[in-house]
């Protein structure tokens, strides 16, 4: 896969914008034009195609989308929602935001790598490692005061995710092993290690029930504080603020720090970066480490915020890290975009959850799969830049002047 060859040489046609081979090169095109219109069109198109699937299988797409929207709780934002509706909406919105927080973080984990020309498919594994460490710390050290306990759990989880991701970065730097392959492998290794640890007879299996493959529970003092809603009914914990803070840190590091500059330089052109005195290998390690930091944090806030335990089944069915790819691509790897895309997918997950959707309108079991289809379509549309190309062509036709070279797609 010399698309991202160890020595950074693309076998593709050099110097042709849009014909560039690395993910980063293509995304430069994607980032260069279209403003917020491209992601909006992408989303719209994906929803339209999803609606067609609903229609083709004999259901009402508008009723379905309305029901999903009501389930997200976003109608809480409308001033005319009142009374019992408003209370329900508040609870739903809390759940949406609980799901949004880790999505933002894994989105940042994927996006940061993209900016350095790396493709981090390993968000899922890094998330899992973070969750494992968080549940281990959170369920041990029972006598510890709350704040240091939570901080310790979060920091260890984030560092664990970082170390896990840095394996891929280190292999890329030292042996040139393609990070796409290594992160995929690390995902599955993390999954089976997790299943081993919490499974029957595993070293971290719970001490109370020997026939249930689940971890010990997090001690109550290590739960993240809930600031909106009832802590007993899974109110909104402070994880969303951690995610937003991480997005700010992401933007500052990337745009205002030396390391961020080096990461972007390597992503833009590794050879030029090396010529300019940047250690490309070390940058790969640091970038992947930072990615793992975000993803590990996501695992920690899910465990400490609302799951409170990890079952082997949770590890095997979790898709959060993969959703992060969609979040990052739709959010164009910017902090703001990632937060908004995270909210979109968080809302979709919540709106299509079994608990929320009225089965008489649309079966929730179908809705979950609809979410997966929409998510796939979003990534598919982003991958081809077709919309961007179309927009650019239209703009060229309108202004009737030669396009700037940097956006000359197709």
């Amino acid at each position: 896969m010399s698309a991202v060859a160890p020595d950074g040489q693309d076998a593709g046609p050099a110097g042709e914008p849009g014909g560039g081979a690395t993910v980063a090169t293509r995304l430069t095109t994607h980032l260069g034009v279209g403003g917020v219109i491209t992601p909006l069109l992408t989303t719209l198109l994906a929803f339209v195609v999803g609606g067609l699937v609903v229609l083709a299988t004999g259901h009402d797409p508008f009723g379905t989308y309305k029901a999903i929207f009501d389930g997200t709780g976003l109608n809480w934002l409308f001033p005319w929602t009142s009374g019992a509706d408003r209370d329900t909406a508040a609870i739903n919105l809390q759940q949406t935001l609980i799901l949004t927080a880790p999505l933002i973080l894994v989105g940042l984990a994927v996006g940061y790598a993209f900016r350095a020309g790396l493709f981090n498919i390993g968000g899922q594994g890094q998330y899992t490692v973070g969750a494992i460490l968080a549940v281990w710390v959170g369920s041990s050290f029972a006598g510890m005061p709350a704040v240091p306990h939570i901080v310790l759990a979060i920091v260890l989880a984030a560092l664990g995710g970082a170390a896990w991701a840095a394996i891929a970065g280190g292999l890329r730097a030292t042996t040139g092993a393609n990070e796409v392959i290594t992160t995929i492998m690390l995902n599955w290794i993390a999954l089976w290690v997790g299943v081993f640890l919490f499974g029957l007879g595993g070293p971290l299996q719970n001490t109370a029930q020997h026939d249930v493959p689940v971890s010990n529970d997090i001690v109550p003092s290590a739960h993240l504080p809930v600031f909106w809603g009832d802590p007993q009914l899974q109110g909104l914990h402070i994880g969303i603020f951690l995610a937003l803070a991480a997005a700010v840190v992401y933007a500052v590091i990337l745009n205002r720090s030396t390391k961020g500059y080096e990461a972007r330089a390597v992503g833009f052109n590794p050879d030029a970066a090396r010529y300019g005195g940047i250690s490309v290998g070390w940058t790969y390690v640091l970038v992947m480490g930072a990615c793992g930091l975000f993803a590990g944090l996501a695992g920690a806030i899910d465990v400490l915020g609302w799951q409170f335990r990890v079952a082997t089944n949770d590890i095997q069915i979790s898709q959060v890290g993969f959703l992060g790819i969609a979040v990052a691509l739709l959010g164009r790897n910017t902090a703001t975009g990632t937060c908004l895309a995270g909210l979109l997918f968080g809302a979709l997950l919540q709106g299509t959850s079994v608990r929320n959707l009225d089965p008489s309108v649309f079966p929730p079991e179908l809705a979950g799969n609809l979410t997966t289809i929409i998510q796939g379509l979003v990534v598919l549309i982003v991958s081809a830049d077709v919309l961007v190309a179309w927009l650019v062509r239209r703009r060229i036709r309108r202004t009737a002047e030669p396009p700037p070279t940097s956006v000359a797609v197709t």
Partner: protein, 401 residues
């Protein structure tokens, strides 16, 4: 690819070193076998001695410049000694329950078959220069549409046909995006995995609901050979599914087509240097389209084997990462049909062993599941020889003019 070139051994290793390497690997295997049925040596001594010999042979081979085989021999020797020692520590009854060679090899073939089909699919696609991360999705399409087709038509043959068509359809989408639109192949592949997961899950729930696929699903038949008298190999081959044989046949067919025909040479040249290929008149885009679609057909057959050849039902996300193991096998097998077959058999053996090990160590069995991924990680990292993909793998081709 200067880094790759620099890491290759500077001088050609002597043939004797290669021989020594192979001997070391064989000794390592023997070290483990000694402690297992039917030999069941109950003392660790012989295993340790033979294992040490294997390590020594590997070390000599290494120092003579045979890095890959030498390293393999060292690992095999150490592994054999440790495995042999572990086996002598467990009870004879347990050993015989786990290590029943006939059943183990039969299970290995069954577990390996879906991987073999998908890995061959990946091979065809990647040899033409299109990275196929969507193998998982294509398998899933094959698994669902195989079951659906067999159910609706009442015939497993038509089920297979429909499965292949579904896999080809998903592959065609990959081809349109990756070849014509020059999209990033990895991002497209990731997207198609989601789409396939969503579409098959959606249709499954829509068609079958809570009931699941019906019990009387037409099955791909087994072939009875009456070879069960012929030792454990005979037992393993005695009653295998038609598609198990199909998978082995596909390895030969793909090997001949890709490595022994003019068409195959064209395919590989497109994957190594598309511009040069086009210069001599090969249609790069058409070749890649064909390769990707064939890839989808093969992966779908692997998926269909899962649903109507092996499990006899479909469930959501039933491939459960097998497409990625196939990808791993392809890389571990160095993008070659026989290498891929060897890798899928190894991974299949790990699965078969993992399925039987819980008899006396449930948690240890789980770790076996991670083996394919660890081995592949080691392989791509170049610790034991390096796996090198086709030069233009993953690079969209842009036609001049």
């Amino acid at each position: 690819m200067s880094t790759v070139a620099a890491s290759a051994p500077g001088r050609a290793p002597a043939p004797r070193a290669a021989l020594l390497g192979w001997a070391g690997i064989a000794l390592g295997v023997v070290a483990f076998l000694l402690a297992l049925p039917p030999f069941t040596v109950r003392s660790a001594g012989p295993s340790l001695v033979v294992g040490a010999l294997a390590v020594a042979a590997g070390a000599v081979a290494l120092s003579a410049g045979e890095r890959r085989l030498g390293a393999f021999a060292v690992v095999a020797g150490a592994g054999g000694a440790v495995g042999g020692y572990a086996a002598t520590r467990s009870g004879v009854g347990n050993l015989e329950a786990v290590v029943s060679w006939g059943a183990l090899c039969a299970a290995m073939l069954r577990y390996a078959t879906p991987l073999t089909f998908a890995a061959l699919g990946g091979l065809v696609s990647e040899r033409s220069g299109v990275v196929n991360i969507a193998l998982e999705g294509m398998m899933l399409m094959g698994a669902f549409f195989g079951a659906y087709g067999a159910d609706k038509t009442g015939s497993w043959v038509l089920g297979l046909v429909i499965a292949v068509l579904a896999g080809a359809a998903l592959a065609l989408v990959l081809a349109i995006f990756a070849v014509s639109l020059r999209a990033d192949q990895i991002v497209t592949g990731v997207a198609l995995n989601f789409v396939a997961l969503g579409v098959t899950g959606y249709l499954y729930v829509d068609v079958y609901g809570d009931q699941g696929t019906p019990d009387g699903l037409p099955r791909v038949p087994d072939i009875k050979l009456h070879t069960d008298g012929l030792g454990f190999i005979g037992q393993a081959l005695d009653q295998q599914n038609l598609l198990v044989w199909g998978g082995l046949l596909a390895v030969v067919v793909v090997w001949v087509l890709v490595f022994r025909t003019a068409r195959g040479l064209r395919l590989r040249s497109v994957g190594e240097n598309p511009k040069a290929a086009e210069t001599v008149g090969i249609d790069v885009l058409r070749t890649r389209y064909a390769a990707v679609v064939v890839s989808g057909c093969l992966a779908a057959l692997g998926g269909a084997f899962l649903s109507i050849g092996f499990v006899h039902s479909f469930s959501q996300n039933m491939t459960a990462g097998r497409g990625f193991i196939a990808l791993a096998a392809l890389i571990f097998g160095r993008w070659r049909p026989l290498g891929a077959l060897g890798a899928t058999l190894l991974f299949g053996f790990a699965s078969a062993l993992a399925q039987r090990l819980p008899a006396f160590s449930p948690s240890g069995a789980t770790l076996f599941q991670a083996l394919p991924y660890v081995l592949t990680l080691v392989a791509v990292a170049g610790i034991i020889g390096r796996s090198r993909p086709p030069a233009a793998d993953g690079v969209p081709y842009r036609r001049e003019g």
